[in-house]
């Protein structure tokens, strides 16, 4: 069964880069969101069992999404993919329950490794 995968980034270009970096042969049903509010709507509709989340976004940022997922107890596993590489940014998202933190520009091998480490997808 395909995994509902939600890619959240305000940049369509960045979302495309993430889609390109997904492991080949991973059976996913991809949805996309351009900000945190859209992301939460889609997660509530069951489209984001796994979420690849950008931090710096208009309307609602990635921190807001993580807080809401926790507050509403939504069933989503979140990997943050961020241009904000301050150690404090990583510490904050990890405290908010993110599974992992990946720095942009996105490295395909690193994404595959993390998906495999957490048993989400093994090539």
């Amino acid at each position: 069964m395909s995994v509902p995968l939600l890619i959240v980034d305000d940049s369509g270009f960045a979302r495309k880069q993430v889609i390109r970096a997904l492991p080949k042969g991973w059976d996913v049903e991809i949805s996309q969101a351009g900000n945190g509010v859209e992301a939460l709507e889609q997660i509530e509709q069951g489209k984001g069992e796994v979420v690849l989340l950008d931090l710096t976004m208009p309307v609602m940022d990635g921190y807001g999404v993580l807080e809401a997922i926790r507050a509403r107890d939504l069933p989503a596993v979140v990997i943050v993919i961020s241009g904000d590489i301050q150690p404090e940014a990583e510490a904050r998202v990890m405290r908010l329950g993110a599974l992992a933190f990946i720095k942009k520009p996105l490295n395909t091998e690193q994404l595959s490794q993390i998906l495999s480490d957490f048993g989400i997808h093994s090539a």
Binding site: D10, F13, Q17, T56, G83, I85, P87, A89, K104
Partner: protein, 202 residues
Amino acid sequence: MDSEVLDEDLRDCLQELSNVAVGRAADLLARLLDTFVIMPIPVVNLMERAELSMALSSVQGSHSVSAVCQGFTGSKISGEALLIFNDASFTDMAELTHFEGEITEQIELELLMDIANILIGACLKGLAEQLDISFSQGQPYLLGQHINIDELLSKNQSGWKRLLTIELPYKLEGRLVNCDLLLLFTNDSLAILRDKVSYMLE
């Protein structure tokens, strides 16, 4: 080359490349000042120089600003970086750098130059690396201290009428520090940038 346009795909791509570059600059600044930098969302535009003052959202309304300018060039891309500080920022900036004593104009200048070196250098390097080019940077120079935005922009007349602008409004968490890093590229640079990123846009 007045026909150059900034289509949505290119604008979005440049915004994302800037976002990554800005992240590196923010990381350096955060480490230097031991503070948290609120990441700006880069604003990419193509505009006439005359429109520039309206674009400076972060320091807009500040009666008094200080600014540094630094030219850069490489791979037929050229432009200049402007770092504009709201003068109200200097008290907090001095505190963050553990400066004790009277904040004279000379101290402000030193703070301005230090921050400019870090932010402009890291940002340009981050952009250049992603574009697989390198920029050489000119000497930074002071555009003015304690002047208003209009005065500032009138001092910065490089003769380019149409510009590609990337605006990066930085803020520090819990601090009254407002600064705008503005990257201005010549209109001719736009075609080269488009060419450099074309493979990413496919």
